[in-house]
């Protein structure tokens, strides 16, 4: 009873114990030898500031979001809180933003692990526990910008010292090097003093304090006291107070907050179990012993530390000293190095002028030249005024690097509104010719950096560009933005299930059923998913499980890296935000995600990997060799055949227009020119659909509805979209036209409406809008209509420039598919997974378009799919070895190299002997799909399977000599040939596709006898007739905008049929719809302007094949 003895013996000389009014109370003694404080005054009741709070961004060591902490602090009337997450500033940006929103001062700091102080406090050895060894952590708070920069550098140093992604720890030398501007608290039970006192008593703690004093100075070091109603902690507090007194150091009170409210302790216990890979039942002392680490009111803390008032007073003093906030980040975008005698502005102007001449100097665009020059002058003036010339030059430099290295690149997003970007070849859409609105991209009043996103071919080439940027700006000057991986339905269900002790099978069953649909109906609650997984949600344990899963939603789980966002910095990025290693070798990542970076004004360039860019690049590279053609994406002709194909919705594999919804709408839109395609890309989006813009546009397009305008003056603005506002740029122009807004004001209006955050700002802008309209004679109902129109569609509008950029790629993909089907399909197959359809569907679609698709063959196939030229000069597609499941890339490479070097293979034994890398399983994988059928003695796949079983077995040393090998390979196989169904199943199991007839084709005659139509035969049937159709499910969708309707795509040998399932029918057939591979649908035909759907009434599973046909679901 060491702890108690100390406590009680002191208490005998102490005053009266005190009691907390809300029953959460600790009695203490009065402190007879008060440690020194910097304030002689007794604290006022409102003087407490929580200076040691951690958020869920201490990954699995705390349980509340940073903004939840701030909101709770605001509720408790705390004037300030410090966020001190473990080894990072991951949550700082959100904490800062929430602080700005609520008026609570958001102090920034971190808990820093220090290896030099030994191990952190664990229970004594004689107590059973499972604590791992970890370094203790001190708390560092940023007093000034210099302090913040030092903290960032310190964190970067300790993180980058690790060979791979990891926690890391600092040394005393690190602390000393980056000590300026920081205030140090000694930490609670995770701090070094707690472990020192347990290990070596006062003397060891004193030694640690001496070292910290030498680093931070006496005025910047505070001995931290926490009270969580624990005896051993209280004993430590007494020892710390004695130390503070003898060393003349100030004490400070904190609550070591790990969650905002007491209830969240449960989440922390779950996190603790996850972190230590154990269950709640087995976690034992790893869990919190009570629920006291929540935010407390000033009154609670004041009473709790009534015997040490200076500890409370010091929180206010320290808070007042923490002048730094993230408003004052000190970030600067780098300058571009220009040749001597040039300024960045002059250099940019010259590059733009060159670009203008190149882009608009061609005869077809000469008429636009003057307008383009005027536009770029205007844009350049604004860029110069805003000081963004360096930014444009740096992006231009990246584009130039890509061009020099043959990497296809295209800017997207609002950058396509800029003529300067077009001239610099950052974008490929002509904003002058398309009359795009520059202000949507850049405006003077917005006060933020332009956002340029670059699409690159996904894969190695994008990585090449990223590494170029690292090289150019240094490893501490550039980094990827982070991606915060948060708990979602599946991950929460799985991990909570684990810590509650559910077995693997149960967890797998549950995670397989937790919905991934985009749309969630009333029945799609997590509770419902639990029921489907076979759980009784009324059982107490299951109810607890469900409750925890729901509460875990959106809490951060770990940090990943964003797919393409990169930030660069003038000087050292590691002084702006901590940088750490990503899991991917050669990559570093900042501790904030892209929204955090944007909120704090850090400029990012998105280097996005776009699968279709890789397809286009691969396809274009093949054209000269196989077709003798060269196609320039920037100058593709407007081709009627391409538009005919688009109008027929024959768009499988094409970028952006291949989805089920696009296919259903594109015949109505009937695009005949590029701008029609721009509209098509933009209109099938959640925004326009929810905003009810799609149908008015389509009706007007088909002449079913009269074209009207909200006001005659808006006709020029809305004429291109038939009077229906579709694009954000149109909103800007509407405001500029009817209310004389400037471009910048209009952009401000768009953002204010879109964000719906500041009601006051919205009111002001609406007032100005109405005043402007009144001034222009637009009053009454017309005025209300316009205001209403702007409000509703601003939420959902799509940037016209973005649509144009995507439309350009969509058109290119359509053009290449129509004219170079073999090369395009080949490129598509080599860049999977991407798009809406599986490789099996892409192959069948290409075959229906007349392409010969050759099967995998060890004598012919390359590592990747390839184009072959037939004897008649036509082109066919050979499936590559990359589609053999279970064949390692190195084995495939060895096979191709050996064959190319030494000639074709003679037999199975020959392959096995010449390519020792191939193991038995790989030979079996090749044999089962018929890839060995072209070898001399092989008659059918089972012949090959029979032979590889012998050839693939390693002989002992005695039999390894060639002459000793028995020649049983030539013995006749006793196995019978595979049936059609067996071949089909082997094709799908072994390669995911078949080059033979479609699985449905084998059963057509029987299906026809049962009155089951093919997808092609639907076209001859009248509207509303009853039909039966069957097919393989290739896609299931439940879009967020479709109110619970499910859309299925069924494929047969003739094409794809579209099925609509109402929510009621879906509920009745949920299991059949979600699990069956082949479905039989009884329903009603719905024909609308050539677009055919079957509205399902009865659904049943059709067991006609064992082939593993996969569907792509839940898009």
């Amino acid at each position: 009873m060491t702890d108690l003895s100390l406590h009680i013996s002191n208490s005998r000389s102490a005053g009266t114990p005190v009691c907390h009014p809300n029953d959460e109370y600790v009695s203490t003694r009065a402190h007879d030898t008060a440690p020194p404080t910097q304030s002689a005054a007794r604290p006022k009741p409102s003087e407490y500031v929580e200076l040691h709070a951690t958020s869920a961004f201490s990954f699995l060591e705390a349980a509340s979001q940073p903004d939840t902490l701030i909101d709770r602090a605001a509720e408790l009337d705390l004037s300030a809180v410090a966020l001190t997450d473990r080894n990072g500033l991951y949550g700082a940006a959100r904490f800062h933003s929430a602080g700005k929103r609520t008026g609570v001062r958001a102090h920034i700091g971190a808990e820093i692990a220090i290896r030099s102080f030994g191990d952190r406090l664990t229970p004594p050895d004689w107590l059973p526990h499972q604590y791992p060894k970890e370094p203790p952590r001190i708390v560092l708070l940023c007093a000034s910008q210099a302090g913040y920069q030092n903290l960032c550098q310190l964190l970067t140093r300790m993180k980058m010292r690790e060979p791979s992604k990891g926690e890391g720890s600092a040394t005393l030398d690190d602390l000393a090097e980056f000590s300026a501007g920081l205030i140090c608290l000694t930490g609670g039970d995770e701090g070094p003093l707690a472990s020192d006192l347990a290990r070596g008593g006062d003397s060891e703690a004193r030694s640690t304090l001496d070292r910290l004093v030498s680093i931070y100075g006496r005025s910047n070091l505070y001995i931290e006291l926490q009270r969580h109603h624990q005896r051993d902690e209280e004993a430590r507090n007494q020892a710390l107070l004695n130390l503070a007194s003898s060393l003349r150091l100030p004490a400070i009170a904190t609550n070591g907050v790990r969650y905002a409210t007491a209830k969240e302790r449960e989440i922390l216990d779950v996190f603790t179990s996850i972190r230590h890979h154990t269950t709640l039942d087995r976690a034992g002392r790893l869990l919190n012993s009570n629920s006291m680490r929540h935010l407390r009111t000033e009154q609670q803390m004041t009473i709790l530390f009534r015997d040490i008032p200076e500890a409370i007073a010091n929180t206010r003093i320290v808070s007042d000293r923490l002048e730094f906030s993230l408003e004052n980040l000190g970030y600067k975008f780098p300058h571009y190095l220009v040749p001597e005698g040039e300024t960045m502005v002059s250099f940019l102007e010259k590059r733009v002028e060159e670009g203008v001449l190149k882009r608009y100097g061609v005869p077809s665009k000469r008429d636009l030249l003057d307008r383009a020059r005027t536009q770029v002058r205007r844009e350049l003036a604004l860029i110069k005024r805003l000081g963004f010339e360096g930014y444009f030059l740096i992006v231009w430099d990246i584009i130039r690097y890509c061009r020099q290295h043959g990497i296809l690149v295209q800017g997207r997003g609002s950058a396509a509104n800029s003529a300067v970007c077009y001239a610099l070849e950052i974008t490929a859409v002509d904003p002058v010719g398309m009359e795009l609105l520059f202000e949507r991209f850049l405006s003077e009043s917005r006060g933020e950096w332009p956002d340029i996103d670059l699409d690159l071919p996904s894969g190695d080439q994008r990585e090449q560009v990223i590494q170029h940027i690292y090289e150019k700006y240094g490893s501490l000057g550039a980094a990827m933005t982070a991606n915060v991986i948060s708990y979602r339905g599946r991950s929460a269900a799985r991990e909570v299930g684990k810590v509650l002790g559910f077995d693997e099978d149960t967890l797998a069953r549950l995670s397989g059923l937790v919905g991934r649909w985009e749309w969630r109906g009333n029945n799609d609650t997590m509770a419902r998913n639990f029921e489907h997984a076979g759980f009784d949600v009324h059982h107490a344990k299951i109810a607890c499980y469900l409750d925890l899963c729901l509460r875990m939603q959106d809490l951060p789980r770990h940090l990943g890296q964003h797919s393409g966002g990169m930030v660069i910095c003038a000087g050292m990025l590691n002084r702006v935000v901590p940088i750490e290693r990503a899991s991917m070798p050669g990559r570093t990542v900042v501790q904030w995600d892209k929204e955090d970076c944007a909120d704090l004004g850090i400029i990012k360039i998105d280097l996005l990997g776009l699968g279709m860019m890789a397809v286009l690049q691969d396809c274009l590279q093949q054209l000269p060799c196989h077709y003798g053609d060269q196609v320039d994406l920037a100058a593709m002709p407007e081709d009627p055949l391409v538009y005919d194909t688009l109008c027929k919705a024959d768009t499988v594999g094409m970028f952006q227009v291949e989805s089920r919804a696009q296919m259903a709408s594109i015949p109505h839109n009937a695009p005949r020119k590029f701008y029609d395609l721009v509209v098509q890309v933009a209109i099938i989006r959640p925004g326009p659909i929810v905003g009810r813009m799609m149908h008015p546009y389509m009706n007007r397009r088909q002449g079913k509805e009269k074209i009207t305008y909200p006001h005659p003056s808006l006709e020029p603005v809305l004429k291109r979209t038939l009077g229906v506002p579709l694009f954000q740029e149109q909103l800007l122009r509407m405001a500029m036209t009817v209310a004389d807004f400037s471009g910048a004001e209009a952009e401000e209006l768009r953002r204010a409406v879109g964000m719906r955050r500041s009601m006051q700002r919205m009111k002001d802008l609406e007032g100005r809008l109405r005043t402007g309209m009144t001034r222009n004679g637009i009053v009454g109902e017309a005025q209300d209509n316009i205001v209403q129109g702007i409000s509703s569609f601003a939420m959902y509008g799509f940037p016209e420039s973005h649509a144009a950029s995507f439309a350009l790629i969509a058109y290119a993909s359509a053009y290449l598919k129509v004219y170079y089907l073999a090369a395009f399909t080949c490129a598509l197959l080599n860049n999977q997974p991407m798009g809406f359809y599986s490789p099996a569907v892409l192959v069948k679609d290409a075959q229906r378009h007349g392409l010969r698709v050759r099967p995998i063959d060890v004598q012919r196939s390359s590592g990747l799919c390839s184009v072959e030229t037939e004897q008649d000069g036509s082109h066919s597609l050979r499936i590559g070895l990359n589609y053999v499941k279970g064949l390692r890339q190195s084995s495939a490479q060895a096979l191709v190299e050996t064959r190319d070097r030494e000639g074709l293979f003679e037999s199975v034994d020959d392959i096995a002997e010449r390519i020792p890398e191939l193991n038995r399983k790989e030979l079996v994988a090749l044999a089962r799909i018929g890839a060995l059928n072209s070898l001399g003695e092989i008659r059918h796949r089972r012949d090959a399977l029979w032979q590889v079983e012998e050839a693939g077995r390693f002989a002992g040393p005695l039999l390894q000599r060639k002459e000793a090998t028995p020649t049983t390979a030539l013995s006749k196989s006793p196995l019978r040939q595979m049936t059609t169904e067996e071949r089909l199943a082997a094709d799908y199991a072994g390669s995911g596709l078949t080059t033979g007839p479609h699985p449905m084709a084998w059963h057509r005659s029987i299906l026809r006898k049962q009155g089951i139509l093919s997808s092609e035969e639907l076209q001859g049937k009248p509207n509303l007739s009853r039909v039966r159709i069957a097919g393989c499910v290739i896609a299931r969708q439940r879009p967020g905008t479709a109110k619970g309707f499910v859309f299925l795509s069924l494929e047969d040998e003739a094409g794809i049929a579209n099925i609509i399932i109402t929510p009621d029918v879906f509920e009745q057939n949920r299991v059949v719809v979600t699990r069956s591979k082949v479905l039989l649908i009884d329903g009603q035909l719905q024909v609308n302007d050539g677009v055919i759907h079957v509205k399902a009434r009865r659904i049943s599973s059709l067991e006609i094949t064992d082939a593993d046909i996969r569907s792509r679901d839940f898009h």
Partner: protein
Amino acid sequence: MTRTLYACIHAAEFPAQTLVRLRPELRAQPVVVLDGIAPEETVCSINAHARRQGADLHLTKFEAEAIAGLHLLRRSIASESTARTVFLECAANFSPRIEDVSFGTACACVLDIAGTESLFGPPDKLAQRIRAAMLSAGFHASIAVSENFHCARLKAAHARGISLVAAGEEAGAMTSLPIQALHLDENATETFALWGIRSLGQLAALPQHDLVARCGQQATAWRELAMGVYAHAFQPIEPVFQLSEFCEFETPIEQIDSLIFVGARMIECLVARASVRALSLASLTAEMTLEGGKVHRCVLHPALPSTDRKFLLKLLQLEIAAHSPQSAVFALALSAEAGQSSQVQLGLFAPQTPEPSRLDVTIARLKNLVGEDRVGSAVLLDTHAPENFRMENFGLDNTTTIPSTAHPRWTLRRVRPPVPLRVTLESSLPVSFRDRDKRYAVKEAFGPWTTSGSWWSMGRWNVEEWDVLAETDLGAPIVCLLVFDRQKKDWRLEAYYD
């Protein structure tokens, strides 16, 4: 050469059969048996009626409940064990040589029936008699008779009713059986699937040398199994070695000494039987059948397995003295668990420890006095929960020492059971409390020291502790630990500080 003949008896879905067997009213009903721990139970066995209703193995309880009309029963391993004994006993009536070939949820055995013809008639009659006997014992079983052990086994597992395989007809009888009957490993199963080999007939048709060249020597066994020629060395079930003695008294015994007298003889026999096998007695269970049919049971666990009959008898004597039967004893059964004789090597310079058997006797005496769960070593548990220890028998390895400290220590003396209190609070602070006898005025109170946990289970706790210095009305001071259980809302005096 002696002719061999085997009969295999195969009862599929044994867990379901076991439970239905004792409840005849369920025989015509759809029944599924659930296994696993709630709430994660799944169906492990079903009867034919249930299968026809759409039930299947591995359904969750929730899914099974969704199928109308199903009877859901819980699996009983004890019942299955008993039923298995009955099953084997029933089979043993037809041959003393039985081999257990149970697999999965099936219960099966093969009988060596060579030479039984004169007793039970020809094989077909024998099979019918076995089936009838099984049915009367409550089991639906399929029977197969063959000269080949495995042919009988496989045929019984995959055919219904009675199958008689004539000599030389084994291969033909097996030809349609699925290849899964051989329970091959994953690789071989996949290979045969790729080869299109689905039945034993197809497997048997493969050329042996080529097959061995591809699948290894094990393929010979597979092929011979498929052809019904695989030889088998019969492994009859050995009689279970059970150390038990039973004595029924002609007249009920009321005197413990008389009982011990008989018990001494029985222990002597048990020890002798164990000693022959170089074993000791690790535990001893005495079951006394009393007047009225009740059974009085007591179990002895010596610290080390022993063959010291005097020591064991002393333990039994103490145990019966401590837990004496309530009425006269009709029968005494002693059963023992065998254990390895163990000798512990002690250190030459290690302090002398008490002799284990003497310690056992002492502990038994102590347990007599204070209760079973109050003797032994307290072992701390890895939990913050208030009762964070369990009692363990004394052992040589429980030697964890708590390091000494320079600080003076207070001794906490727990009060068992805790004393219920009425506590008077002022501003949430205890100011006085009263037990059954006295009233105490609180001079100083420190706390609350709070702990809570296991919020996810029924064992949740939430308590606050107060260290209190109090005085009686007569001025006698006490320093004690008061505990307030926040869930039960009650106060108790938990311990004194000495």
